[in-house]
Symmetry: D2
Subunit: 352 residues, 4 copies
Amino acid sequence: MQNKMKAVIMTAPNQYGVELVDIPKPAPGEVLVKIMSVAICGSDPPLLAGESYQTPTLPFTPGHEFSGIVEALGDGVTDLKVGDRIAGESHCGCGYCYNCKSGSYNLCLNFGKLDKGHRHYGFTTNGCYAQYNSYNIKTLHKIPDNLSYDEAALCDPAGTSFNAVTLTGVTAGGYSLTIGDGPIGILTMQFARSMGSKTIMVGCGNRLAMSKKLGADYTIDFTKTADIPGAVMEITDGLGADEVFECSGAPGTTTQAIQSVRRGGQVALVGMSSITEMMVPVRSVILDQIHIHGVRANPNVTKNVISLFADGKVNAAGVITHRFPLDDIKQAVELFVNNKDEAMKVIIHPWD
Amino acid sequence: MQNKMKAVIMTAPNQYGVELVDIPKPAPGEVLVKIMSVAICGSDPPLLAGESYQTPTLPFTPGHEFSGIVEALGDGVTDLKVGDRIAGESHCGCGYCYNCKSGSYNLCLNFGKLDKGHRHYGFTTNGCYAQYNSYNIKTLHKIPDNLSYDEAALCDPAGTSFNAVTLTGVTAGGYSLTIGDGPIGILTMQFARSMGSKTIMVGCGNRLAMSKKLGADYTIDFTKTADIPGAVMEITDGLGADEVFECSGAPGTTTQAIQSVRRGGQVALVGMSSITEMMVPVRSVILDQIHIHGVRANPNVTKNVISLFADGKVNAAGVITHRFPLDDIKQAVELFVNNKDEAMKVIIHPWD
Amino acid sequence: MQNKMKAVIMTAPNQYGVELVDIPKPAPGEVLVKIMSVAICGSDPPLLAGESYQTPTLPFTPGHEFSGIVEALGDGVTDLKVGDRIAGESHCGCGYCYNCKSGSYNLCLNFGKLDKGHRHYGFTTNGCYAQYNSYNIKTLHKIPDNLSYDEAALCDPAGTSFNAVTLTGVTAGGYSLTIGDGPIGILTMQFARSMGSKTIMVGCGNRLAMSKKLGADYTIDFTKTADIPGAVMEITDGLGADEVFECSGAPGTTTQAIQSVRRGGQVALVGMSSITEMMVPVRSVILDQIHIHGVRANPNVTKNVISLFADGKVNAAGVITHRFPLDDIKQAVELFVNNKDEAMKVIIHPWD
Amino acid sequence: MQNKMKAVIMTAPNQYGVELVDIPKPAPGEVLVKIMSVAICGSDPPLLAGESYQTPTLPFTPGHEFSGIVEALGDGVTDLKVGDRIAGESHCGCGYCYNCKSGSYNLCLNFGKLDKGHRHYGFTTNGCYAQYNSYNIKTLHKIPDNLSYDEAALCDPAGTSFNAVTLTGVTAGGYSLTIGDGPIGILTMQFARSMGSKTIMVGCGNRLAMSKKLGADYTIDFTKTADIPGAVMEITDGLGADEVFECSGAPGTTTQAIQSVRRGGQVALVGMSSITEMMVPVRSVILDQIHIHGVRANPNVTKNVISLFADGKVNAAGVITHRFPLDDIKQAVELFVNNKDEAMKVIIHPWD
């Protein structure tokens, strides 16, 4: 094995490119992963632009949705071996704070503190826009042979979707509404469907068509529908959806979510945007006793996601539209940011 | 028994007074209750002013927080007998819709439809500002001898508090924060305390003093504290409260609630005001994975409330400051609305 | 409409036959239902033999799994109309006890007390082995046109299965184990599957073959497998099933259930037999922190069952093997009891 | 600091005594703890006798209920400092298996595997019957000044009680029943009480008297009561207890627990004995839809326990009856095992 690798290096806001750098060594409890496939997350471009809610120490390598092969073992690692095919998740808790110990390592109380063992790969420490990276084994999961690297790279974002359906629960035989037909929205809709829900998707254009193809039982084109909650009420016999997943982050959709859910129903806020505050119809929340759950990332779900992907119950490949070599990172990001060429999930192949 | 009774009759917004009217007869499944004590709810004055979110058909008798004595039985009633001392709750579901059958009769899908059996006493049908009223037995609960009628009249509002602590859960050995030191706030704080929580109360003046006397472990005077969430963080070792109860309905307090809760914590929205929409820091809700629960009324809790009152674990009498005969209803309402004379819970005695 | 109907009348243990009797009139809140399809439940033959845990007052008409058409309305009924196609459930709570009000009408505290409004149709009051019967509207649910009467007759037993999966929860992407391949077992397996579980079924012979056809991902033939838990561990990578549904009621299977579930997993006891007590490995329950749920009937689930049936996510028709006219009731019961001719669910048609 | 310490060394079943041995060095992520107080657990004597369900590698130092002072820090420890007063818990998960990551480190899938980081102090690795021991910081919690070392030594067993009340939930204003008035039973009763429950205790003699003194609202002397469930029904208006905690491990009490709980209620199995199997009335479990939870140890609860101890809501000191120096370990164990001199919780002081 050579000791240099290609990696995207960000040196300042909007300044980044592929460089040759040292391959990181796995610390105790870590393994070195040969990155086979990377997906661009909606949070990556703001980070590259210096507009993220989290600012890494520069120079920096972003990226946190990936799959790969175990290349070398750090001290004390016995559960993975060289050659294992794996998918990763971005959050690595300190392991000893109250939240980590009780299962919410996505809410680690030592978030961002590298000296206490916390890692948010691709945010607070280097990520996967590279040919190699070292990861704590807590964040890695073996994948079955029938799951491609490209599909496996979606385990991290799909885990956010799975966390959403876990926090709300899903009513088998009921209706769920997903607002926002980006990759997270379409994956969330599919997970709800895999748990027995009749699915309603709000979106438009080619993405709404993709939603339909990937399992949305009902679609609502928001460019043609003045009254989204009214349309939901019509589908649901006037009762509203049992669960609503807000996956767009757009202003106004949180209100639509609350107006579209049934009395006593569950709303998940998944989509995050540049907006930090929104008007929310709190009186309706009270009078209809609605439950709202913020959804952050993907704790304890990767195993389930891998299983549903591998069994074909959720179609990950279906949201992938483009693939680029690492050297074309800027072109890939530009296409992704501008939704060019009907881009949905854009994949980077570090070894192409 | 005579066949006329005194009752408050509202004939138009802001037009009401005590009149002699027929005593209502109990229908099958109902009993006639001799009303012994009535508490004025914060939602009564807006209703009398024609500014409620619910508009009753006039003429109308308001009131829904009460206790009394069973005076006569409707057909088919075998579980109550004449002379039983009872406390009431205001919501009576249709009994056969999905929400009623599954325990959420406060969210009855036939809300407001009298022909389908739903009653919201004091809102959609006559209430307890009277010497008698008939009630479906679903809404009545026997009270022990050591519970006074005045205390028992608080079972309905206290039930909203109990629903709040039920929806959030209460962390025994943890911290809860209550924002708003009106009767509902102080009762909510007491229930949280009875379930093992260390309680923090935000308020001011005599009400905050009352909170302290009734069990608040920590008090924050909002007139003297610029940074409420900061003060909460100081008390809670920088972690935030496990549960936050927003009981004021004031603009801005929902944001305070969200900023004061721990990562992954629970927020209950209890206080309702004339405000229908509020700015909410949704990004924080997502990043800290916060759970928000609208709280409507008091399903399935009156039994528990009675028990905690009777055992002295929650002090209902402590929030009662004034008592008036029914004839002085206007004076009582005026004192209550304007918080005159340090008024908290104001009681009406129909038989004084 | 004529005023006489055919009905099965039981006059003593093991003494029953079809007779002409008066058509019952619907009381207020009830409707008269023309029974179109009846399924024989495993609890019907013991009841006819006088060996049930519940003893009805004789003469008596059993049966509680049915579908039909609304024929006439009792007073006050506005939500159903003559001609509506409906499916029924057997439990009708009093509607005002603590359990009913909080959603557990299957556990009504006034169970068996007719004067308090409780009905357990086909157990404590006449059932559906007849051409007509009157039912409280709380127990009836409209069915869509694409659901046949025979399928709809299975809503009641399928509701027990749905209650089981509700009480345990189902891990999407995980494994569930169902022990017992009778109709309830196969329906339970299908519901778990519809909620994203990989399903393992323990059974034998034609029933196990039927399980496979209806969606069991793995089958274990207990006649050929000495170590059932060992076989489950092999399938589940040594971890055990996330949820185990004991649907056989056989001695020993509860121990198998506990030995086959993962550490911290969920076990539902669904199958009831003549056995009232069993040896249970309590030390394992403690050391592996296992959760065991008794499952009684089908509260608040019929709507969901109808939806999953109608959408083809759960195949009800697949477990139906035989159909008889009402006049052949004895032949039908005998075939059912003795599992003759590979009988699974046996249907009675009162109007054939 | 010297480099030798006193420790109890077990060399064979029933062969143990105090010896001078090397003080263990803290590994990375560990600290060395000066043990100030140790409580004898009911599981210690069987372990010393070689009759435990877990067999340690000999020679071995038992003990897992302790408090102490941080004496030295291993590499990478920043959250504790020398001189900190701490309480410990016995389970230390591997930190990366599915159960650990999702909060159930008491059910670690790598249980007993030292090479994977799991520790069950005092069971699979040396414990606290010594003047010093090294512990992973995951298992240690700072204690406030007003909590004595003796009280703090009870955090570990009390955590099992707290886990029990967490798994069942506690109905504020309802009734809980605790069967078994040993230290775990009395602590469980107190926790239920701190969460608003009216408490019923089954026991006898001085322990039942102690229960009463420490907060049991009702006591049932099993030596004088033929029908325990009947006595519970009398106290609870014929409904049964909302939660039942089986803390005795005696044959027959599991059946009493199930017969004493309300329809739809919760039963926790806490008490473990030499019995591995018991007869359980499964039919009642099904017909009354009862939920049974095995309770193992104390995940994620020590913080809450410390808080309730320190605030005086649960009286830990009240169950302590005897104190011995480490040199008298045999005398202490003998007194404890034989319940001599009304012994309840027996404390060892390694430095006396």
